[in-house]
């Protein structure tokens, strides 16, 4: 892990890419250069303002361009993400990153990426990187409703592949849960990012099938760099460990999966 960098940066573009869903591109060469898939940035506005997001918010690096831009997939959720979704080209943000530990993979078996909602973000970055190095990558992407589905053309452009799509209301892609799309009895590497219930189901499946699994977890964060101890998850040893520095990506064996 390289030392993260504090970077005042400019928004290059912000486009709506689905209901409540935005694709934000920011000019951030040092972060683009250093980031690996699964890492994240803290994005905020600095000390000049009090309005939410006052504390910066964590977002997966959702892509990087050769020209030093990074892409973030932002879903409007609470006050902070509403403000981020309203960013305009030229607006200045304060970035800290890249942060945390990313996904690690082998070339020898297919990578199956299970994305729930905005959990798609890290895989938009990971898929093309892994493919470029010769891996076979598949993304299974689930959303609650069809209107929230992240623009498939944009996914194609960013990753060169098309995810298999699942929606709970069946309005787009296949109806059902993304996890049901995982083919069993095959040697694969599993990667998961999404809501906790999905990660739990994924862990159970991986355990049953004895498959390697890495998951990216989400916790409320204060600092993003390991100072505040705000972002903890339960380790397999029963201790609270920091998801910002030990994670956000963990191997399934590292975490405690009891309630």
């Amino acid at each position: 892990m390289s030392t993260p960098c504090r970077l005042p940066a400019r928004v290059l573009s912000n486009q709506r890419a689905g209901a409540d869903t935005y694709w934000l591109e920011i000019d951030a060469p040092p972060i683009a250069q250093a980031a690996v898939p699964g890492q994240f940035v803290m994005i905020g506005f600095g000390l000049g303002r009090l309005d939410a997001p006052f504390l910066p918010r964590p977002f997966s690096v959702g892509w990087r361009g050769d020209d030093g831009r990074i892409g973030l997939l932002v879903r409007r959720f609470g006050t902070g993400t509403h403000r981020l979704a309203a960013l305009r080209p030229g607006d200045e943000v304060l970035l800290l990153g890249p942060l945390g530990r990313g996904f690690r993979w082998e070339q020898d078996s297919p990578l199956i990426c299970i994305a729930g909602g905005v959990g798609l973000a890290p895989f938009l970055f990971m898929a093309p990187e892994a493919i470029r190095h010769g891996a076979t990558v598949e993304i299974l992407y689930g959303e609650r409703t069809g209107d929230r589905v992240f623009d498939p053309q944009l996914v194609e452009k960013l990753t060169g592949i098309q995810p298999r799509l699942y929606t709970e209301d069946g309005s787009r892609g296949q109806i059902g849960r993304v996890i049901d799309g995982i083919e069993r009895g095959r040697r694969i590497q599993l990667f998961g990012c999404g809501p906790t219930p999905m990660l739990r189901a994924l862990e159970r499946l991986a355990r049953e099938e004895d498959l390697p699994l890495q998951v990216s977890v989400e916790e409320h964060m204060g600092c993003g760099i390991g100072t505040c101890q705000g972002c903890v998850v339960r380790s397999v040893a029963g201790e609270w460990i920091k998801s910002c520095t030990e994670g956000p990506v963990f191997r399934r064996e590292e975490l405690s999966w009891r309630d």
Binding site: T3, R6, P56, L96, C223, T227, G230, W240
Partner: protein, 308 residues
């Protein structure tokens, strides 16, 4: 930034700006990100005798103009702090000073931690945390004058290093507790720790914070911190460290004028890791622009109206 330096507790502080306990880990986390050794110093995360597991998540959330935290004093405990954390500080900080924030359930525990660290190198003194609202009984010492006095006396007997007591804001009159500490032999005071607070997720009908309540910090508490620092500084002769909601050099200077010799920056670091460095630089610029030779000329220099 010559004007910023001050002699306190027998040593030179190159700057009045320290990083607050719990917001800068054990220092190493900032390595390479900010020039730690150019600051006045850092205050470590609380150290207790045994490691503490800490509270359930969520542990942090944003509040209007601030944040709430309920970490629950998760820390590595005395032994690992001494063996694994202190050496880094010893090696990397040659100009900035280190205060070790100490917590305990009993007078005994406090003094055992102090005794267990006292012959180590890499730190200047102790910040005795009698004011954490996030653990059961965490403010017991901070709100009970007799217990506080006994605690400070005992720690005083255990060490010759500077003993600074960090006070809680949740008392009718902080001046009373400030005097108790001074009388019991404290070398300084830190004002203030966080205010107890709570947030509720209206849809889920559950507390946002796993521990139900937590401590509120950040700009929201700035005016309270300035007031309590002023009250405390008026009540005692020992130096006071001003804490609470500092974002800018002007915020910090308000604390100084109110009577603080040093200040600590906490929550602002999360918003911008450069906060402390920027505050320090801004304070130096203010001294220069106002033709003030030494920061100490401003300590407690607020002029009260005649009628007050």
């Amino acid at each position: 930034m010559a004007g910023l330096s001050q002699r306190l507790w027998g040593v030179e502080f190159q700057s009045p700006v320290l990083l607050a306990s719990g917001t800068c880990g054990y220092g190493a986390e900032y390595d390479g990100l900010i020039p730690l050794d150019d600051l006045g110093g850092i205050v470590t995360k609380a150290v207790s005798l045994e490691p503490r597991p800490g509270n359930l998540p969520h542990r942090v959330a944003e509040t209007p103009g601030g944040m709430i935290n309920a970490i629950g004093l998760q820390n590595v405990g005395l032994k690992r702090f001494r063996d694994e954390k202190l050496p880094w500080l010893d090696e990397h900080l040659t100009k900035a000073h280190v205060l070790v924030n100490v917590v305990g359930h009993t007078v005994e525990e406090f003094s055992t931690v102090v005794a267990g660290l006292d012959d180590a190198t890499g730190f200047l003194g102790y910040e005795i945390n009698v004011s954490c609202p996030n653990v059961k009984g965490g403010t017991l010492f901070g709100t009970d004058a007799k217990a506080l006095s006994e605690l400070v006396r005992r720690v005083r007997q255990t060490t010759a290093r500077p003993v600074i007591v960090k006070l809680t804001p949740n008392v009718p009159d902080i001046a009373v507790y400030a005097r108790v500490c001074e009388d019991a032999g404290a070398d300084g005071l830190s004002t203030i720790n966080t205010f107890p607070g709570m947030l509720i997720d209206v849809e889920a009908r559950r507390p946002v914070i796993g521990n139900v309540s937590g401590g509120v910090s950040g700009p929201a508490i700035l005016p309270m911190g300035i007031y309590l620092t002023w009250r405390a500084a008026q009540a005692v002769e020992i130096p006071v460290i001003g804490i609470g909601g500092i974002r800018t050099a002007f915020d910090a200077l308000q604390y100084v004028l109110a009577g603080a010799s040093l200040v600590q920056i906490g929550t602002a670091l999360f918003v911008d890791p450069n906060a402390a460095v920027d505050v320090q630089r801004g304070m130096a610029a203010h001294l220069e622009s106002q033709g003030v030779a030494h920061l100490s000329d401003l300590v407690g220099a607020v002029e009260l109206p005649n009628h007050a």
